[in-house]
Symmetry: C2
Subunit: 446 residues, 2 copies
């Protein structure tokens, strides 16, 4: 099959066969298709689109390009969760122990952050000694032993996706729902879990700008899931203001500890419980989302989720003492407080500007090899709808010794106010469950 | 300006500014934009289109990327002609001496053939000694001396077009009217002529498949011409059966000699006169196309055009003796005759299949570095509409000693017949003149 013919077909807006999609990916892998040819095909696909069959074939071709993690020896349903990313999004850190406490297995491969703030792996590196690079063997072994493991994404899973993504990034072809879906799902399928829950965020702090796009991405992912015989559920959530209060690596780990004690911010807890509940229902561990949320909430209140988190930290070589003494985590040099100037209601907090301020103080990285400062970030004291009084702290900037007047300026401008009460928009817009797997008895909590 | 932003703009179907087009081309030239980025932009432009301003800016940026031939010291209007290419199209070879005989200057840069058969430069190489590589200096000098010159396209004219074209060829982005227009016109503008006549062909043996596309390309070229203050005329002609009888290099040179003696095939003569007449009118040398056609026809009949051709051959180092003894040109090893089987009318001669047969015997090249056999090709004895009798020769295949049963098969199948008389379609569909330059007195013919 000729690569030019394949590109030409998509240029003319026609639909590929499975053979053509496979040929494209394998020619790319073998170096028989040049980068400029893949780039041309990506642009044609971006503009002309890929239908659900094409997207499924592309996803499968990505999976086939590398290893697939073998979790067949793990007893019970294995769950994985992915978020399209947002400012202050730390639900993964809470979901791992929470789901494990509920008796389902969690196999989580995560990436490092790029763009907004740190990724889950960066956040975990705040914990002294925590090993984020498990071998495939140790990863599976740990899931068998304690029901959960987290490790950084391995390059040998879906490598063709990695190659194509690198090209998309530099050819303005990132914004394509089918290409995003194939990229996300191929990595999840290669990671081997049975139940996959996707948190698809939309809004100015998210990858998808509109609810409409988020719904389209969600339905594409579910449909591809059906075709690949995977249980893929989608939760669509708003990302206009940061999720929870903390933005920055140590700060987010501390917020998770609070959450696991039942003392977390309401929005963060609500979304975490929703995502966890969907996973439990699909894993056959709970009859419905509402009941599942109740069960998860109980794990927060009785200490079992926190205990499971301690177990995770210890299993992966981390020092759990930070759970008692937060000063063991990386610390900022100083904390700058930004007060409210008048009596009003918080009308808006621009997540993107908050992320920008956090990045300016070093909490995020600009390029893949940039080091990040794990101790710095932003801590919100208020959310949209909260009333504020003059002098009351709106937000704190955790920073190093450098001059951060610019970051303070950006952070201040992220807030806007109203003299009238303001109702925040709903956090969760849509929850659609994937296939429900075997109903196993729930492991009774301790 | 960021290359990713430029690509993204075209992906979203937006219109570029002149600054963006210039930035794109200069980044490509400086190696600051990668091939895969240019390829992505090309695909986005191919699908989303470029408007007339964008096309003009791209054309100008191509021109600015290299040298522009300085013809300012040539006395009088200088004419150039370009064809989008077709099977058996050899009008350029006739037009150079014919226009020079009519007192306008001709500065012609041509390419080698790729795809169908040889280009004008390949055809001229059939003539023993003919030098197809003139320096810019000698090119201009010869125009001053004898009123005409032809040389192979120089790489330092519009080099950015060359780079972009090479990428288009391997990324299925050739089929774009604005990109084709920018490519064609930039080379013509860089070649320095005042009057440019474009022969835009459509049909199965041409670059443009439909009359509609040919009209769109023609109007795009004229509009870009206006914006660049160049006189660009367009003639749209059909290319379904070969033009004239000869397809192949020596064969086509011999057909030109016939034409210049007033003994050429009717279709070839008609198109040559039409193109030449348009050039003469735009150059201000004749009042209208019809009168100009008459004047040109007189040059064929009185021997002055042939005399001018002899002058061209001698000026460029060729041996003019072939004008008397055709056996001095490269010869085939043998000539295979294909006869008609029944009494009928020729209903169709598929130009693409004829070209394929010519290529199979070695008259065309497959890749840029392939040698071609200048002596071989196809000689039609019949055209569409001609009546044929059983045993009468339809076509001859000039070939080397190899087995050419496949080529004979292809050539035979190129013909189809009808028991009823058949009217061939009109050869010329549309003639639209560009700006008419200063009306100079015509130099009286000898």
């Amino acid at each position: 099959m000729n690569i030019i013919e394949i590109i030409d077909k998509k240029r003319r807006g026609l639909t590929h066969t499975e053979k053509e999609i496979n040929a494209l990916v394998s020619m790319m892998e073998a170096g028989k298709a040049h980068d400029y040819q893949i780039a041309a095909w990506l642009m044609a696909s971006c503009i002309s689109g890929l239908d659900l069959d094409e997207t499924t074939w592309l996803t499968q071709a990505f999976v086939n390009s590398g290893k697939v993690l073998d979790l067949s020896h793990v007893d019970g349903i294995v769950v994985d969760k992915h978020s399209t990313g947002g400012v202050g999004d730390k639900t993964t850190l809470a979901l791992i122990p929470l789901l494990a406490a509920s008796g389902v297995k969690v196999a989580k491969l995560s990436g490092r952050g790029l763009g907004i703030t740190g990724g889950t792996i960066d956040k975990l590196e705040s914990i002294p000694g925590f090993n984020v690079s498990l071998s495939a063997q140790n990863f599976v072994k740990q899931i068998k032993q304690i029901g959960m493991a987290i490790s950084s994404q391995s390059g040998d899973l879906a490598p063709a996706d990695g190659k194509m993504y690198a090209l998309r990034d530099v050819t303005a072809t990132v914004e394509s729902i089918p290409l995003i879906a194939a990229s996300v799902i191929s990595k999840k399928v290669a990671a081997g879990a049975d139940v996959i829950v996707l948190d698809i965020k939309y809004g100015r702090g998210a990858f998808m700008a509109t609810l409409e796009d988020a719904k389209l991405l969600a339905s594409t992912c579910r449909e591809v899931g059906k075709r690949l015989n995977k249980s893929i559920s989608t939760v669509i959530s708003a990302m206009n203001q940061p999720l929870g209060c903390a933005v920055g690596n140590s700060l987010e780990v501390l917020e998770i500890v609070k959450l696991l004690k039942g003392e977390g911010p309401a929005d963060l807890e609500a979304l975490t419980l929703k995502l966890g509940a969907v996973a439990l229902v699909c894993a056959g561990a709970q009859p419905d989302v509402e009941t599942a949320e109740g069960a998860l909430k109980a794990h927060l209140q009785d200490g079992s989720a926190l205990e499971k988190f301690r177990e995770l930290v210890i299993a992966q070589g981390g020092d759990p003492y930070f759970l008692k003494d937060a000063s063991l985590l990386p610390q900022p040099d100083r904390v700058l407080m930004i007060p409210a100037k008048e009596q009003a209601y918080v009308a808006d907090i621009n997540a993107l500007e908050v992320a920008k301020a956090a990045k300016m103080v070093g909490a995020g990285r600009l390029t893949k090899d940039c080091p990040i400062n794990l101790g710095v970030g932003v801590l919100l004291h208020k959310h949209i709808g909260d009333p504020v009084k003059p002098g009351e702290t709106l937000v704190e900037l955790y920073a190093d010794d450098n001059d951060h007047r610019d970051a303070v300026e950006v952070l201040s401008k992220a807030f806007s106010f109203s003299p009238e009460p303001v109702s925040p928009q709903p956090l969760v817009d849509e929850v659609i469950l994937g296939k429900i797997l075997a109903k196993r008895p729930v492991v009774a909590k301790g």
